[in-house]
């Protein structure tokens, strides 16, 4: 049976905390759910997802859903052996600049939301060959 506080579900029957107003303390083994993004010509990245994986089967344009300031997410991108090219639209701002995707196959991409406007998802990308 779910646990409710003033009629709001605090912990549901699947042991999910569905709507935490605030949380303090320390955490130990607490991991992000991993969302697997499907390859397509246009791919939507939601910074609500804390961790995403994407293996490109074709070159693709990536856009983003609006997030909330302070949200962070990680995108694990494999451009594949065919070295497909991702194109991040204006929702994203790369720091210091967008990398050359052809330089590496594997990319760990950190996304930081600094607002809900165009370009407010700040991106840091590190490329790997192996």
């Amino acid at each position: 049976m779910a646990i409710k506080i003033d009629g709001n579900v605090a912990i549901d029957n699947s042991r999910v905390l569905p709507d935490v107003g605030n949380m303090t303390g320390t955490f130990g083994a607490f991991f992000p759910n991993v969302t697997s993004l499907a390859s397509a010509s246009t791919i939507s990245v939601s910074i609500d997802d804390p961790c995403m994986t994407l293996t490109l089967g074709q070159s693709a344009t990536l856009d983003a859903t609006v997030g909330t300031t302070g949200q962070t997410s990680t995108l694990l991108l494999d451009t594949s052996a065919s070295a497909y090219t991702p194109t991040f639209n204006s929702d994203f701002t790369f720091s210091p600049s967008e990398p050359t995707w052809a330089d590496h196959r594997y990319w760990v991409i950190s996304l930081f939301c600094k607002g809900n406007g165009t370009g407010d998802i700040v991106v840091f990308a590190n490329g790997y060959n192996a």
């Binding site: 605030n22 990680t74 760990v108």
Partner: protein, 283 residues
């Protein structure tokens, strides 16, 4: 009393009885304030000999007390471990070795000796491969090197010139702190450092080195140390010429300097050539 959902505990008092542990949570959505990762020292996780990067934690620290080879455990895609690494907590820098599962940008592992403190972000790509970045902070460990310069055909030269009635001094001083000074142009004092930061030792020497001077031409004078013998560089060693006669000959000396790591000179680390000329003008 623990709180259960369908027989599974989801909230319980922690072992100290002063806060609530949420356990067996399958998902959470919302916001947080002062919610922080429990950050154990790696050695605290499984005892002092534990050298495993445990991805059941999001953050850990390590103060190295020996060279370590790090393995990984509990890897799964998306798990991130932030490692704060201090290579030199006791004044002796140690070297970390990471497994081949850890991949670095451009396939290039950082040079750990460059810095003593590192912040290393490790991201699990899957249950095997981890891709990492590392940022170094603070001072590093500079390798100690002994260097001398000059050749038999190109001596390092110093000149000292004084006016009538003032003794002129010219020479080289190899100091115990690893520096080399030469006399100033006025021929009066050792005030000019030569090749600062490189000659003769790039750092304060960590051991006793030994110097030998061999005269190539001319004669040593003034307060020179003896030639043709190995001298401990625990004190300053000076080789110079002194002109005490106005308008007379201008004494010049050419010397070979060798530095060895042992008192017998069997392991010579560097050789250099130096020249000094002192002049007392007559007017």
């Amino acid at each position: 009393m623990a709180v259960k959902i369908n027989g599974t505990i989801v909230a319980d008092l922690n072992s100290s009885g002063d806060s609530v542990d949420f356990v067996n949570i399958t998902d959470a959505t919302g916001a947080y304030d002062n919610l922080r990762a429990f950050t154990p020292n790696i050695g605290d996780v499984g005892g002092p000999a534990n050298d495993t990067l445990d991805f059941n934690f999001s953050s850990c620290s390590e103060s190295m007390t020996a060279n370590h080879t790090y393995a990984e455990s509990n890897k799964s895609a998306g798990r991130v471990l932030l490692l704060s690494l201090n290579r030199n907590p006791s004044g002796t820098p140690y070297t970390p070795t990471f497994s081949a599962n850890i991949k670095w940008p451009n396939d290039t592992e950082p040079t750990w000796a460059d810095y003593n403190n590192w912040l290393i972000c490790l991201v699990c790509w899957d249950s095997t491969t981890v891709r990492a970045t590392a940022s170094g902070f603070g001072t590093g460990t500079v390798a100690e090197t002994v260097t001398l310069s000059g050749t038999p055909s190109s001596y390092n030269s110093v000149f000292g010139v004084t006016s009538n009635g003032v003794d002129s001094l010219a020479g080289w001083r190899f100091k115990s702190d690893g520096t080399v000074f030469k006399t100033n142009v006025l021929g009066s004092s050792y005030s000019i450092q030569f090749n600062a930061g490189t000659e003769w030792c790039n750092v304060t020497p960590s051991q006793t080195y030994y110097l030998r001077c061999t005269v190539q031409a001319g004669s040593l004078g003034g307060g020179s140390q003896p030639a043709n013998t190995w001298l401990a560089l625990t004190t300053d060693r000076t080789f110079e010429v002194l002109d005490t006669v106005a308008g007379g000959s201008e004494p010049t000396v050419q010397i070979k300097i060798e530095i060895a790591s042992d008192s017998g000179g069997s392991n010579i680390l560097a050789t250099g050539y130096y020249e000094a000329t002192a002049t007392q003008e007559s007017q």
